[in-house]
């Protein structure tokens, strides 16, 4: 026993090194494989507050541009004021009051931290579960999709940006409705890749790509981007389509977190169907 302690004492440098590295890798792996809120991220109070102050200063430089975007968006909202309602007309009976039932609510949030130049990018927003933000909600901006909420603290939340290797958004070609998963290959923050579009589909450069109706988080027809180019790899039956993203991730300032009110209901029903017919 004495020898063991002496041995450890003699090589304490190596043991401390190993111990610390094991702890670091534990943190890395824990954070990668489980979507668990850990305290070492920018939604903790000290880090988030420092970032918020710095962002407050930076925002003044973008005021003019943001005003223009807001004005444009107001004009657009006036023209489609029923955008967030789903129709529940049934051909047996129609009750006037329930023709439109609200499906989505939007919370406006400010971006306090953002990155675009890493392989896995995250965004921090200034609202948390005190404001009704929950895990897995969609995040959009007036120009298009942004990402999916990951960790939530009481006043902040972190968002897995579309520029993240694990973000997959179900998207479709607006013109013909063919859909597939949209991912980011890590090369350029302006482009993403849409897979699984069958080769018989007629594609043209500039086709609009929007979110499909099959996502639990994203509303349908939210702008994603436009087709830049497409190719068919050898031995594959699908196109790989390069999409020019409509959101400029470098200039994110205000975003909307989308709450799907009917999500739990749909999830539960689908779960039930799956458990009964394995």
């Amino acid at each position: 026993m004495r020898n063991l302690i002496l041995f450890i004492w003699k090589y304490y440098f190596y043991f401390t090194f190993l111990l610390l590295e094991i702890f670091c890798f534990y943190l890395v792996i824990n954070n990668n494989y489980y979507q668990r809120a850990s305290f070492i991220n920018s939604s903790n109070t000290v880090a988030a507050n420092i970032l918020r102050i710095s962002k407050n200063i930076k925002d003044y430089f973008y005021l003019k541009e943001q005003n223009e975007i807001l004005a444009k968006e107001n004009a657009e909202l006036r023209t489609h004021s029923f955008i967030s309602f789903s129709k529940t007309v049934n051909d047996r009976f129609v009750v006037d009051d329930t023709v439109y039932r609200q499906k989505y609510t939007y919370t406006s949030c400010k971006v306090v931290n953002n990155s675009i130049n890493r392989r896995n990018n995250f965004i921090t927003l200034n609202k948390g579960y005190n404001h009704g933000i929950k895990h897995d909600m969609a995040v959009i901006t007036s120009t298009g999709v942004v990402g999916i909420v990951k960790d939530v603290s009481s006043n902040f939340c972190t968002v897995m940006s579309l520029l993240h290797s694990k973000t997959v958004i179900s998207s479709k070609i607006k013109a013909n409705g063919f859909f597939g998963p949209l991912t980011w290959d890590g090369e350029n923050s302006n482009y993403a890749t849409l897979n699984d579009i069958p080769t018989h589909v007629h594609l043209t450069k500039g086709d609009t790509v929007v979110t499909s109706a099959y996502s639990l988080s994203f509303p349908e027809n939210i702008m994603v981007g436009t087709v830049e180019s497409f190719e068919r790899k050898r031995d594959e039956f699908f196109y790989t389509v390069k999409i020019k993203l409509s959101t400029d991730f470098k200039k994110l300032s205000y975003v909307y977190v989308v709450n799907n009110i009917q999500k739990e209901e749909q999830k539960e029903l689908e779960k039930k169907a799956e458990s009964e017919n394995p």
Partner: protein, 170 residues
């Protein structure tokens, strides 16, 4: 002694703020991410106890991790860098060892010594960091390219800091 500790703490806070408030917002493309904060580990005095060297580097890494949302990655890279520091110092030591009053700066030991010492440690740090971020050896060459380009930028910033804060005494 107390003076050195206080100076190191101030340097820690200053470098973390510099990294997360200024350098983090400079966009030089996806391949170039300089990490000037490693200057803290480079600048620790020669006689720093090895345990403190590892622990302070770990603290530095975990603080940077909080701001970058990369739990553990920077910490792992910093601890590895601190672990290799004594060996690198030994490799480049002058014939009769380091003198008692000197610090690992360009001012005391000259430009060529300082650049070789810091470039090796910076390369090690960036190598570990970028490969943990990838968590695989796919895209191996593009990651190596990132390591080299980012290391060059970090090294340039580190050398500039030397001319900025430690002017050679005539």
């Amino acid at each position: 002694m107390l003076n050195i500790i206080l100076k190191s703490i101030l340097r820690f806070v200053f470098l973390v703020l510099l990294q997360v408030l200024i350098i983090k917002n400079i966009e030089l493309g996806r391949f170039i991410n300089p990490f000037i904060y490693v200057l803290f580990i480079l600048m620790l005095p020669f006689e720093t106890p090895k345990g403190i060297l590892l622990l302070s580097s770990f603290l530095l890494g975990i603080t940077i991790d909080m701001f970058y949302d990369t739990s553990g990655m920077h910490a792992a890279a910093c601890v590895f860098m601190a672990f290799s520091r004594p060996a690198v110092l030994k490799l480049f030591s002058p014939r009769d060892g380091y003198e008692g009053e000197t610090k690992p700066t360009m001012e005391y030991l000259g430009a060529s010594w300082f650049i070789s010492y810091s470039s090796i440690l910076i390369l090690l740090h960036h190598f570990v960091l970028f490969f943990i971020e990838m968590f695989s050896f796919s895209e191996f060459f593009s990651t190596i390219f990132r390591v080299i380009v980012s290391s060059i930028f970090t090294l340039i910033l580190v050398v500039i800091s030397q001319y900025f804060f430690y002017r050679k005494k005539e």
